[in-house]
């Protein structure tokens, strides 16, 4: 009986550790994907430059289009609905906050969930550091930086609960093509 009880206890512990390890692998995979999505969102956002301004030698993003492209990429890749809330198949567990930094020849505009929250002037070269993630991007040309914040992901339970953060940044620098 003693051996049986010890075996059952060990079996439960081993299975718990295995399940947690597998879940952590899944978290790492999703965190990597989120970084890639941030890069792709930034690349999509950088596609929409104002052609009229470009003819006058100024590179300026069309903010509405850039923000829409960023939203499209984030929502479709992370399986979110139109309000950036988790949809079927989403790994994230809550509303995803998307912060976009549009840096062009005019200035830097910071949008959170599509709403302008800050703008300031800068000159090239400029080092942008996203305070939330510690992500740095050297801006030599018009650039878009995107931060995706999905909060924490609950893994495990009880004394074996982990709440790793799902928050990643990515950037794209527009070069004349």
């Amino acid at each position: 009986v003693k051996v049986f009880i010890t075996t059952i206890g060990t079996l439960i512990l081993a299975a718990t550790i295995w399940v947690l390890t597998t879940t952590m692998y899944q978290y790492n995979e999703q965190s990597d994907k989120m970084r890639w999505v941030a890069d792709q969102a930034a690349a999509a956002g950088a596609l929409y430059l104002d052609e009229a301004a470009a003819q006058e030698g100024m590179n300026a993003f069309v903010d509405a289009e850039s923000l829409q492209a960023i939203k499209n990429v984030v929502c479709s890749n992370l399986h979110l609905d139109n309000n950036a809330n988790p949809d079927t198949g989403a790994y994230v567990q809550r509303h995803v906050v998307v912060t976009a930094y549009l840096l062009d020849d005019q200035n830097c505009r910071v949008y959170r969930d599509g709403v302008l929250i800050d703008s300031y002037n800068f000159s090239y070269p400029y080092l942008l550091t996203v305070a939330d993630t510690g992500y740095s991007h050297a801006v030599g040309h018009p650039s878009v930086v995107v931060t995706i914040d999905a909060g924490t992901r609950h893994i495990g339970g009880g004394f074996l609960q982990f709440d790793p953060v799902l928050k990643r940044s990515g950037a794209y620098e527009w070069m004349d093509k």
Partner: protein, 137 residues
């Protein structure tokens, strides 16, 4: 003697878990290589405006080179093969989809016990996503 036999049997079952963890580590590394490679070809598709036959062939070749035991026939692709252009406005029409899968054979260390969870003890791993086309008409 009876206890010794029971202990040996119990150990045989318990040892499956650390061995399974080892397998998971190996498969995870494999999946990372797969993801990185597929996404780098998604970048090429972004420039071309679609997944061209050349991009798909190169991707299959590189995946087979990097992942031992994988053959070209194992890799399945579904996605955008029709030309997409960068539009004037941000819409889904400019998006290139992709879903690339590969089989992970012998997924569980003991197929007899866990094999019924996955047919043939094989998991289909997928890397999917959507990117914006940068191609201009």
């Amino acid at each position: 003697m009876k206890e010794f036999i029971v202990l040996c049997a119990a150990l045989l079952i318990i040892i499956l878990f650390p061995v399974q963890s080892l397998l998971d580590t190996a498969y995870n590394a494999r999946e990372q290589v797969f993801d990185t490679t597929v996404r780098s070809y998604a970048e090429r598709a972004r420039i071309a405006g679609k997944f061209t036959p050349e991009i798909l062939n190169d991707m299959r070749d590189e995946l087979c080179d990097k992942l031992p035991g994988l053959s070209g026939g194992d890799i399945d692709f579904t996605g955008t093969t029709a030309q997409k252009y960068r539009g004037e406005s941000a819409s889904d029409d400019s998006m290139i989809d992709f879903r690339v899968t590969m089989p992970i054979r012998n997924r569980f260390v003991n197929g007899l016990i866990f094999g019924s969870i996955l047919p043939g003890n094989t998991e289909v791993y997928a890397c999917s996503g959507q990117v914006y086309s940068e191609a201009t008409p």
